[in-house]
Amino acid sequence: MDLQIESGDFVFLVGSSGAGKSSLIRLLIRDELPSTGRVWVDGQDVVRMPRSAVPRLRRRVGVVFQDFKLLPRKTVAENVAFALLVTGHSADVVREETDRALSLVGLSPRREHFPDQLSGGEQQRTAIARALVSRPRILIADEPTGNLDPVTSWEIIKLLVRVNELGTTLVMATHNAEIVNALRRRVIHLDRGMVVRDEREGLYAA
């Protein structure tokens, strides 16, 4: 597989389950190492970087998942602030950046709610705010609308498009044909670990 994604791009990863979308994402954040080959993210060789450099890589690459991965005993604001807190930012920075990320995803009014008091869409927006709070260069979304109804899915997609327009490179794995076909962005189709199709302004299916 030889693949390059330009800075500022919006890319869909499509393909059936087990085609390698999630593996590719795990390679990008060095959750997994390739048996052969090289991976560069934001100009850095991910494969050869020392283990101690991995945290810095992950601060520049935000990730959101289908299952949100929010901490149930923390509020929306605490979940978002958590990403900055554990990477050693001062209280002032944590507060400012959390406010900024929450208003970007439109959740400022719900900041003191707990995840189980939120709708699925709001939970995913919280996860997106957490991924964006450290101002990453790249945002990776692994089936972010997989658990959401169509209307909510569109709200999330609109949010991701706006994030992309603000300069963040977006990589999104999805099974949602309607969204891919409506947006007409670059589509990378994976099958059994291989790129079988790579189109600018592509559709979900060839």
């Binding site: 992950r58 991965k69 901490l71 554990v86 957490r130 450290s134």
Partner: protein, 296 residues
């Protein structure tokens, strides 16, 4: 600092999230530390006892009544030449009687009724620099008995022997038991922390995802381990505080000698050693369980 607050709060929360396990491991660590403290105190006590005994008479040669002074002096010189001997003291018949009078004055059940004659013998009291050589020296001096100078050799090293044996047994046995307890304590702490890690696995996953360093992820657990250790140390030292008096008395009674008493310097040393071991075992155990978890 919010970050430090987070680490401390996480550690405390981890401890109380599973109180049964935390208290069980605190208890185990406390027990291990108690053994350690007991070992330190006993070892120190025995060392002191030995050194007190070393300054005491360990061998006495009772002399024939009609021995010539020159013979006594020659014998004394010969004994003093032995490297195990630190000092030889000549006690004349009069000295011996004076001591007996002194003892009689102190004890009501003891009276000297007739002082017209002095049946006590003059003696050479031998102090040893190496008490473990007492038996050898006594054996050599017994050859002198019946040759006109030495009437009898009395060695009193039974206590020293006892002490040296006890010290040796305690050192080896104590260290062995301590090593076993250390392993048990480590095992329990490793498991406690593993459970704590498991309870927070979602939080850890997210921390790693958003780019927290390995150390930041580890610290709460290491501190939790140290907290277990420190609480165990407090418990162990509390027991030591309560039990130290009666115990040292019974030990002194058992050895029929030297009452043991420790200066405050030693007590501080004991407290410091117990806490150092507690933090080491607690933090080390946590590190061990983190190694296996964070390795993947």
């Amino acid at each position: 600092m919010k970050r430090v607050e987070y680490v401390l709060a996480s550690a405390a929360q981890g401890f109380w999230r599973n109180p049964v396990m935390s208290l069980a491991s605190t208890f185990t660590v406390g027990l291990m530390l108690l053994l350690f403290a007991f070992f330190l105190a006993t070892d120190r006590g025995l060392q002191e006892a030995v050194s007190v005994l070393e300054s005491k008479v360990e061998l006495a040669l009772f002399l024939e009544d009609d021995t010539r002074v020159s013979d006594v002096l020659a014998l004394r010189a010969r004994i003093e030449a032995d490297p195990a001997v630190s000092r030889v003291l000549y006690v004349s018949k009069d000295d011996a009687m004076a001591r007996l009078r002194e003892i009689a004055e102190r004890r009501k059940d003891f009276d000297i009724v007739d002082t017209s004659a002095n049946p006590l013998q003059a003696s050479l009291e031998i102090k040893l620099s190496r008490p473990q050589d007492a038996a050898r020296l006594a054996l050599a001096l017994r050859d002198e008995v019946g040759k006109g100078v030495v009437y009898e050799v009395v060695d009193n090293p039974s206590v020293v022997d006892k002490l040296l044996t006890i010290t040796r047994v305690l050192s080896i046995g104590g260290l062995a038991v301590l090593a076993m307890m250390l392993i048990v304590a480590l095992f329990v702490i490793v498991n406690t922390i593993r459970i704590a890690v498991h309870a927070r696995r979602d939080e850890i996953e997210i921390m790693k995802l958003v780019g927290a360093t390995d150390w930041f992820v580890r610290w709460p657990f290491i501190l939790e381990g140290m907290l277990v250790g420190a609480l165990g140390a407090v418990a162990a030292l509390a027991v030591v505080l309560v039990a130290a008096g009666p115990m040292s008395n019974s030990l002194a009674g058992f050895l029929e000698i030297v009452p043991l008493s420790f200066g405050s310097a030693f007590l501080w040393q004991l407290v410091a050693s117990v806490f150092a071991l507690a933090l080491l075992v607690g933090g080390g155990g946590a590190m061990l369980s983190m190694r296996t978890h964070l390795a993947k």
